[in-house]
Subunit: 307 residues, 2 copies
């Protein structure tokens, strides 16, 4: 009998990459969360059993699974939506994590829990690259709730001796991502639009989702009741102008982007991870941002019949 | 038309004192929470309207009240219960606070919100008296959840410009309290028992509930989006042995207590508040612990037909 991994939110962009990575390492992967997919697609992503349900205590118990590892990818995913509906964001991120922790505490206290948090917990940082011990001053309900969920995980780890680890993800992207900057930019570029939000000088730290999935598994190996926290980024800050400019080239366009200068509420201007802690664990990113963008643009062109 | 105050948990030991104190200052007090009491008793405690219900967003909206001040006394109240059922403690403290914050944000964003937290957020302190900027290392789910609720209040205050204040209550007591140390001790003493938990050397900072209620109202006057935090204690540390010894005298017994030495899981040994911040606001405790214990013992004897 192989060991069982439970991935919440396994249908999501990040969750499915975690599922396939665990599956490749020999885990039997069970998934729970929202999203409707056929058995063939589930299997293609390494998911052996799928329960379409909320991540609630009742739903988790009804799975009848006692996992050895849990990666809690379910949760809210949008800064903007968290500002217009903070209460929903709270429930998706904080309440769901409380339910998951109670499930682990009461049903499988030996399991290892990895919580993918977000660099949004840092808010507007003062020093770059951002270290894990930097002050946490989230600038949106999304970031604030991720921070609360982190603290809940840390408290339960300490008080109930649960093996846990937290990975603060920076800008995760990859083939198949149908939202966020790369998707929006490729769509605009393919429609011959040249105008973009922001100043273009904002920086982001891009990490390919397959590297993020490997880091999550690496975090499980390093988990404990002390609940270590690691940044999940590449360590490299790239301006939005550079990313969008590169996408223009990759999409075979000679135009250049024009930035309208509007700032996005709740989004800090800059992000850059200090990844030395994760590197000490033996992990490192394998796909640099230019190679990753190239893969993304190839996928996008094929996806939209432009190839 | 007078201004409206909403007191959640107004049936509770602390909530009813907040309600009557607000009523004496001219507020029209509405209450919501659990507890069944007759209209006469509600009125005696200054509660004009009472809704027996959960502190959920739906229940709060159904009150059809737009309060000018909210004092959120509802929440869990036991360290021991939080260890055996942390999930229930989370919902009573953290989830209920999220619901209340959403109610305030969406229905009455001009209202002032006072959150009575607990000294349990400090956990095992290193320096006494404990200042509000001391590290927060709660030693129980009760303390951990109070800390999370505090942070939720602080985040919402900052992100949505809500006027808020937090009061960290130490050992609150008063006539009518039918639980915790004083109640248990009086019961044992009146039954001629002499054995007590702990070493007797533990210290607590006792604050009479009427002083705590005044501080909560004072906190409302000092509330803002910066969400000030003040300790609610007397500033005086008294050993459990001294408190219990005093109660033996007040109950007219010549026996002395014997302490069995067992420590209580999740309860820090010592508490003593630095109350200089609250004093700067113009508040100070009016009932010292000996006078307060005398009032308590008189009430207890009458209550139990011993007077």
């Amino acid at each position: 009998m192989t060991d069982i991994a439970l991935v919440t939110g396994a249908y999501g962009s990040i969750g499915r990459h975690v599922a396939i990575a665990l599956s490749h390492k020999g885990w039997t992967v069970h998934g729970v969360g929202h999203g409707s997919w056929g058995v063939e697609e589930q299997r293609a992503w390494g998911v052996e059993r799928w329960a379409e349900n909320d991540v609630s205590l009742a739903a988790l118990r009804s799975l009848d699974t006692r996992p050895d590892i849990v990666v809690h990818c379910a949760g809210s995913g949008s800064v903007g939506a968290s500002i217009s509906d903070p209460y929903l964001d709270f429930r998706r991120t904080v309440s769901a994590t409380a339910d998951l922790l109670e499930f682990v505490r009461s049903e499988c206290p030996q399991a290892t829990l990895v919580y993918p948090s977000s660099a949004a917990v840092y808010g507007i940082a003062e020093q770059f690259p951002i270290r894990e011990d930097a002050p946490l001053r989230p600038a949106s309900p999304y970031g604030a709730h991720k921070r609360l969920a982190e603290e809940l995980v840390r408290d339960y780890a300490r008080l109930f001796k649960l093996n846990t680890a937290i990975v603060r993800l920076f800008s995760i992207y990859g083939e198949g991502f149908r939202k966020q900057l790369l998707w929006d930019a490729c769509r605009r570029i393919s429609a011959d639009e040249t105008e973009f939000f922001g100043t273009g000088l904002e920086t982001r730290d891009w990490l390919h989702v397959s590297d993020a999935a490997e880091l999550m598994i690496c975090a499980a190996d390093n988990a404990g009741p002390h609940c270590p926290v690691v940044n999940g980024g590449s360590g490299v800050a790239v301006t939005v102008a550079d990313v969008v400019g590169e996408l223009f080239d990759l999409m075979g366009k000679n135009d250049r982007p024009v930035f309208c200068g509007t700032e996005r509420h709740g989004d800090p201007r800059d992000y850059q991870a200090d990844i030395s802690r994760a590197v000490v664990w033996g992990w490192q990113p394998s796909i640099d941002w230019r190679a990753g963008l190239s893969r993304y643009a190839t996928w996008f062109r094929k996806e939209c019949g432009l190839a």
